[in-house]
């Protein structure tokens, strides 16, 4: 077998050294009745590299590839162009096949990259510190709610109606098992989210307010009044960013007073990959760092006084604190964080700004064209690269009808909010720099037919 170096002669010699007559003798602690007699039933025998590749390629071919068709799907995952050098770097064996950097003398590559990543994320989010990644945006949001609970010693969280419903479901799931209460609401197809109503829900027992920016319908809200209201009540503002490219063009949540900013980093450097692996971003104020979940790289010096980096403040973590840890997270998403940091280094401030401009310009173009179709309304007053259309028909079947016309035309709110009748005609459209003029032309023509 190509992944196993030992020869039968090696095995015999090693058994002789061990003093065992057979490998089975090494398994003697396993009760006889629990041992399988031969190779496991069902699974075929080993296969060549060529055969496995052929099987996997056949499965891959059954999917409609985003890059092959006009593509307008977003809602928490975005298709951006990823420079070729990003994938090259993350395939360096020294990054790809290394472990969590517990031995800093031989892990400076990963540790320095984490430190750079933390700094980039903190600056992008307008925060003072950031950690070295979480699993994804949804789990990062739940961890932020728990962190706010620890800081405020309150357990009631107000979640804006604009937060991604899957993120809300993750929080609802975990809140069943913790002592947290969530106030949630469905979005409405309005030009702007109802900030006043959200603020009205904040009370003296509120631990945190959670707001997505831009929100699930693509709308951009000023977080400043929400932050002020939250702080006046002794609560924290948690902002959730699912499209960090937007922050190249709009103010960061931290600048507007958010205390904890979490997000999904997929859209910078990490491909769509059918939903994972992605990379959770997590940033906050310095004064709260000891309540943060996840790994942190910090700067220090070695025995010769040279600058170096180590994992630090690990007294927050499970391998030291066990049941008193701030989180149970161990393995997070460092390789995706590397992809993020390489892509963002390639972009730099200037490139990010250009990328964001291009996205916004493309989205404005598409919004103008699509909302001019008779019966189709643009819901948003504001948006970055994603907006919501109100169709004259239900959006769910419309999406399938668009597939029949060879395109992936957005996400129907019916899929995200099953049972919410008022939302069934809503279609969320993402338009990134990868969308061409021809794609918009094709989409416009197809949507005209579908809504007719």
């Amino acid at each position: 077998m190509r992944y196993l170096p030992l020869s039968d002669a090696d095995r015999s010699e090693m058994l002789r050294v061990i003093g065992a007559s057979s490998v089975d003798e090494l398994f003697r602690d396993v009760p006889e009745e629990a041992r399988l007699k031969g190779p496991i039933h069902g699974l075929p025998m080993h296969a060549s590299e060529m055969a496995v590749e052929r099987h996997m390629a056949a499965l891959a071919r059954k999917n409609m590839v985003a890059g092959d068709v006009p593509f307008f799907v977003g809602c928490g995952a975005y298709r951006h162009h990823i420079p070729a050098s990003v994938d090259h770097i993350i395939q360096r064996g020294e990054f790809l096949t290394s472990y969590t950097p517990y031995q800093p003398e031989i892990a400076q590559g990963t540790l320095q990259m984490m430190f750079e990543f933390q700094t980039q994320v903190a600056r992008l989010f307008g925060c003072e510190v950031a950690n070295a990644s979480m699993y994804d945006g949804s789990t990062a949001m739940w961890e932020a709610i728990l962190m706010a609970h620890r800081i405020t010693r309150r357990n009631k969280t107000v979640v804006s109606s604009g937060v991604h419903p899957h993120y809300v479901n993750v929080a609802k799931t975990f809140a069943q098992f913790s002592e947290d209460a969530l106030a949630i609401a469905l979005p409405e197809l309005d030009a702007e989210p109802d900030t006043e109503r959200l603020i009205g829900k904040i009370g003296p027992e509120t631990s945190a307010v959670v707001v997505q920016y831009p929100d699930i319908l693509g709308r951009i809200t000023d977080l400043t009044p929400i932050a002020e209201a939250a702080h006046a009540a002794g609560a924290l503002l948690i902002a959730v960013v699912t499209e960090p490219v937007a922050l190249g063009l709009i103010q960061s949540p931290g600048e507007m007073g958010a205390d904890i900013v979490v997000g999904e980093g997929q859209s910078i450097g990490v491909g769509l990959q059918f939903g994972g692996p992605y990379v959770g971003l997590f940033a906050c104020r310095e004064k709260h760092v000891r309540q943060m979940p996840g790994r942190l790289a910090g700067e220090t010096v070695d025995a010769e006084g040279k600058r170096g980096f180590v994992l630090t403040l690990s007294t927050r973590e499970q391998h030291i604190r066990r049941e008193k840890a701030t989180s149970n997270i161990c393995t997070s998403s460092v390789l995706c964080a590397l992809a993020f940091t390489v892509h963002l280094t390639l972009l730099g401030e200037k490139g990010l700004r250009q990328l964001a401009q291009l996205n916004h310009a493309r989205a404005c173009e598409a919004a103008n064209r699509l909302s001019a179709i008779p019966g189709v309304e643009l819901v948003n007053d504001s948006f970055f690269n994603e907006f919501t259309l109100k169709l004259p028909v239900e959006a769910r079947p419309a999406v399938h009808a668009l597939v029949e016309r060879g395109m992936l035309g957005g996400v129907s709110l019916g899929r995200l909010y099953p049972g919410a009748d008022a939302l069934q005609n809503g279609l969320v459209i993402a338009v990134t720099e990868t969308v061409t003029d021809e794609d918009i032309d094709a989409f416009e023509a197809a949507l005209k037919e579908v809504v007719r």
Partner: protein
């Protein structure tokens, strides 16, 4: 608390013809590399963009191609920016590098890392085995890599089939009833398993508050139990390094929801009483959670389902060789018993009678999976890990996976027996180990400890083993060679460890200086924690002028 209130920063790498005797501070292939914040600028970029034709025609200014950053976003064709009046009005402070500089920066950093590709990586309970490159190739096929999680299901049948096929083989290999594929890593899988247990208990109106965890367990076990709202109590190990069955039985009662067991356990030993443990736990109305971190020792040889286990996570980034990536991404599917499967989370993939695949999520859960405890993640789990793990399982097949376990156990025992005359092996007298060999610091000279030995291994070109874990063995060294090491590689490792072990017994003070040849000497972790510097800050003007 304020981080670094003084703005103090440790000095940059020595470059003044210090000990290295070079102007640059480099030593041939050992290359020092500054931070991107020290070499990049906000004006530099390594990417360029096409100007969409219609935009170019629509307006004279086009997209900015000047080096200065316009602070106002450019309007698009036919209108104003629609950013809600929240245009960015100050710089972010993100340095950029050109493509060649970027590639060189990260390539230089990569060379300061140890990795499986470079040599033996014997971290116990981490299963750092070879990562086949076929799996990387497969994961990057556009049909997997360039597919959106919210595409209509008729456009992602191949992706759903991958999840379904992998789920099927994981059930086959574990003898379990159902599997939750969405957890993102081992600890996330533990949480999923405990939430299934909690949901099952609540469904029968049985509120229980305690989870029992052996004192040798991974730190994630008690942390997860606490995260799921349980009180954690430890159960002791016996002198043979196993769960003390009698102590466990004595503690079981109507308040115990679950027992979390690692099998093979963190001492590298199989729990021979596993079935008896499961029976006792079940008799008390509780459930058995198994930490599957050590599944590599028994994959293809023993099915956890035959041992009475109710839930077990599988680290695809351990047993099934998806790369660890310096700390993730991992993937932690959880296999479930018949009693727990109805409570597994959304979404999951169902195979339909017509051969198609369907995602069961919130909209159809009421009919198809009404007792789901909820949702673990935004989307469907770690697809990129599923493709790799499936390719790995199919490559090895039933015969290959059995050989994986046998070679992993053989390699560990070879190390155990080859070194037990130099290093104290606390459980070796009672028999063979499974896939990891454990040693203690007994017999080391005064002032020499496990850390010193581990750091000396670095100088010999190896990654150290897991140290000081499990806590039940003094100065523990947990060595997991995995099956992908050749005998020559093991022999070299044994020779190095034998030599260092002898120096440790002799109390050789030079061990304290190790490592000498690594990119850095020992780092000051106390300083890092006392004065945390977690992000780069530009030096104050006065410092910069120096």
């Amino acid at each position: 608390m304020t981080v670094n209130p003084s703005g103090w920063r440790p000095s940059a790498p020595a470059n003044e013809q210090g000990e290295t005797g070079t102007v640059t501070g480099n030593r041939a292939l050992m290359l020092e590399e500054p931070l991107i914040f020290e070499i990049g600028t906000t004006e530099q970029t390594g990417v360029d963009f096409d100007h969409p034709s219609r935009l170019r025609e629509g307006q004279g200014e086009g997209l900015s191609s000047s080096t200065s950053l316009p602070l106002n976003p450019l309007p698009q064709a036919g209108g104003e920016a629609r950013l809600g009046g929240l245009e960015r009005n100050r710089e972010i402070g993100l340095p950029g590098l050109s493509e060649p500089e970027t590639v060189r920066h990260y390539t230089r950093l990569s060379r300061q890392n140890y990795a499986i590709d470079l040599g033996l990586f014997p971290l116990g309970s981490c299963t750092m085995k070879h990562n086949p490159r076929l799996n990387e190739k497969v994961a990057r096929m556009p049909g997997f890599a360039d597919v959106h999680p919210l595409q209509p299901q008729e456009t992602v049948q191949g992706a759903l089939q991958v999840i379904s096929e992998l789920a099927f083989w994981l059930l086959d290999l574990t003898g379990m009833y159902g599997v939750a594929m969405s957890p993102k890593a081992g600890a996330h899988g533990e949480l999923c398993g405990l939430l299934c247990i909690r949901a099952a208990l609540e469904a029968r109106g049985d509120k229980r508050e305690v989870v029992l965890v052996p004192e040798s367990a991974h730190g994630t076990n008690p942390a997860t139990a606490a995260f799921a709202g349980y009180r954690v109590e430890n159960i002791p190990a016996n002198a043979a390094g196993r769960v003390d069955l009698e102590a466990l039985k004595a503690r079981l009662g109507p308040d115990v929801a679950a027992v979390m067991i690692t099998n093979p356990n963190t001492c590298g030993l199989f729990e021979p009483d596993m079935k008896a443990i499961s029976d006792a736990v079940h008799a008390a109305g509780a459930f058995v959670y198994c930490d599957g971190a050590n599944f590599n020792a028994i994959v293809g040889k023993v099915r956890p389902g035959d041992l009475g286990i109710d839930a077990m996570h599988i680290n695809l980034h351990k047993t099934f060789s998806t790369p660890h990536g310096g700390g993730g991404p991992g993937s932690g599917p959880v296999v479930l018993s018949e009693a727990l499967a109805p409570y597994g989370p959304l979404p999951f993939v169902a195979k339909m009678p017509d051969g198609s695949y369907k995602l069961v999520e919130e909209e159809n859960a009421a009919e198809e999976h009404p007792n789901a405890f909820g949702r673990m993640v935004a989307f469907h789990g770690q697809m990129g890990m599923f493709t790799r793990a499936l390719a790995y399982i199919l490559s090895h097949g039933a015969d290959g996976l059995k050989q994986v376990a046998e070679d992993a156990v053989l390699n560990a025992n070879y190390i155990l027996r080859s070194l037990s005359d130099v290093l104290d092996a606390p459980f070796a007298r009672s028999g063979p180990c499974m896939h990891e060999a454990i040693f203690s610091d007994r017999g080391f000279g005064d002032d020499v400890n496990t850390l010193d030995l581990a750091k000396a291994l670095i100088d010999e070109g190896f990654h150290p083993m897991t140290m000081y874990f499990p806590l039940v063995v003094h100065g523990a060294m947990l060595v997991e060679p995995t099956e992908t090491e050749s005998k020559a590689s093991l022999d070299q490792f044994i020779a190095a460890l034998r030599s260092i072990g002898e120096r440790a017994r002799a109390g050789d003070p030079s061990l304290k200086a190790a490592p000498i040849y690594a990119p850095r000497r020992r780092l000051d972790e106390t300083l890092a924690a006392r004065r945390p510097v977690l992000v780069y800050k530009e030096p104050a003007p006065a410092q910069a002028a120096e």
